[in-house]
């Protein structure tokens, strides 16, 4: 049977989205210390919120889940003043990775990849997409700093996917969507 956005699914996605924003907010001070020392404008906080979007979207298994969560995250970030350097363009910087995550999960499902691979792919590529979007919208990095910014985002995305994989099975069992 085809899954649809029931109230239960929407609540799960909304809570997960807000948890992602909270995680980003909590990790930000430490992340800023690291990125300052690397001379790059970011790339560590965002993958934390993106990996939550990736894992929750895989659990929900409905196309559009990541975009829905990204929209929730953009609105929440806007209201708690956590939009960072992108300002009002935060909606775009959240929605682009969301769309990409939805597409990755859809395509990897069609070729029969496991849920773990889906989480890794969407978390890493979603983080890279977020970094590239922020770079286009605000930072305008070039050369080595841009490569480092993307690399830091991808590495943090992979680390978050690794952590998500540890808890994914338990959450999926608990929420029973």
């Amino acid at each position: 049977m085809k899954k649809r956005f029931s109230l239960r699914v929407l609540l799960f996605l909304t809570l997960s989205a807000d948890f992602g924003v909270l995680l980003k907010k909590v990790i930000s001070p430490v992340a800023n210390l690291i990125t300052d020392s690397l001379h790059i404008p970011g790339g560590i906080g965002t993958p934390f919120s993106i990996s939550v979007v990736a894992a929750a979207s895989v659990i929900a298994g409905i196309f559009g889940s990541a975009m829905f969560m990204s929209l929730i995250q953009a609105v929440t970030a806007f209201f708690i003043g956590s939009v960072g350097a992108v300002g009002a363009l935060a909606v775009i910087s959240y929605m682009v990775p969301g769309l990409l995550i939805d597409i990755i999960i859809l395509l990897s499902g069609k070729i029969g990849l496991s849920d773990s691979v889906k989480i890794y792919l969407s978390s890493i590529l979603g983080s890279v997409a977020a970094a590239l979007t922020a770079n286009i919208l605000v930072f305008g990095l070039r050369g080595v700093p841009l490569l480092l910014y993307i690399s830091v985002s991808a590495t943090t995305g992979a680390l978050c996917a690794f952590l998500m994989e540890l808890v994914y099975g338990k959450i999926k069992k608990a929420v029973k969507l």
Binding site: T35, L148, V152, L159
Partner: protein, 142 residues
């Protein structure tokens, strides 16, 4: 997948470490307490401590629409760049965040040593402090 994930993570971490070393090495090219000035493809260095600074008070507007005043010893960009021909100035921080100031704005755009003892760019009347580049390391004249 957990083992494969760990391998991917280690590979990415190694690549990041290499790039970080390269990037930090590139940043060390600018001497301490100096700003690189790039003009017509050549680079010179401005020693910040040698620049004659005067008391400045620059009014900005923060993200909440409140007025913020940046005070400290500073110099107008127009004064700092006297003698150079340019149409706009790009002020770049060590994390490559940058702001562009047009020649017309340079009279009321200042490099100020703020209350945290950090050098920062402050453009009078700027909304949302968007051009408040902190710890600039490079000025590019365009």
């Amino acid at each position: 997948m957990r083992k494969k994930g760990l391998v991917i993570l280690i590979a990415l971490f190694a690549a990041t470490a290499l790039l970080a070393v390269w990037n930090i090495h590139m940043n060390k090219a600018v001497p301490e307490d100096s700003i690189a000035l790039i003009y017509n493809g050549s680079t010179s260095y401005i020693k910040v401590t040698d620049v004659k600074k005067e008391d400045q008070s620059v009014h900005l507007v923060n993200g909440k629409g409140e007025e913020v005043i940046v005070e400290g010893k500073g110099i107008a960009l127009s004064e700092l760049l006297e003698g150079y021909t340019y149409s706009s100035v790009k002020v770049v921080a060590s994390d490559e965040f940058y702001a562009t100031v047009s020649k017309e704005e340079c009279d009321h755009a200042y490099l100020i040593v703020n209350s945290n003892n950090d050098l920062q760019l402050a453009v009078f009347g700027d909304k949302n402090s968007k051009r408040a580049v902190k710890k600039p390391v490079r000025i590019e004249l365009e």
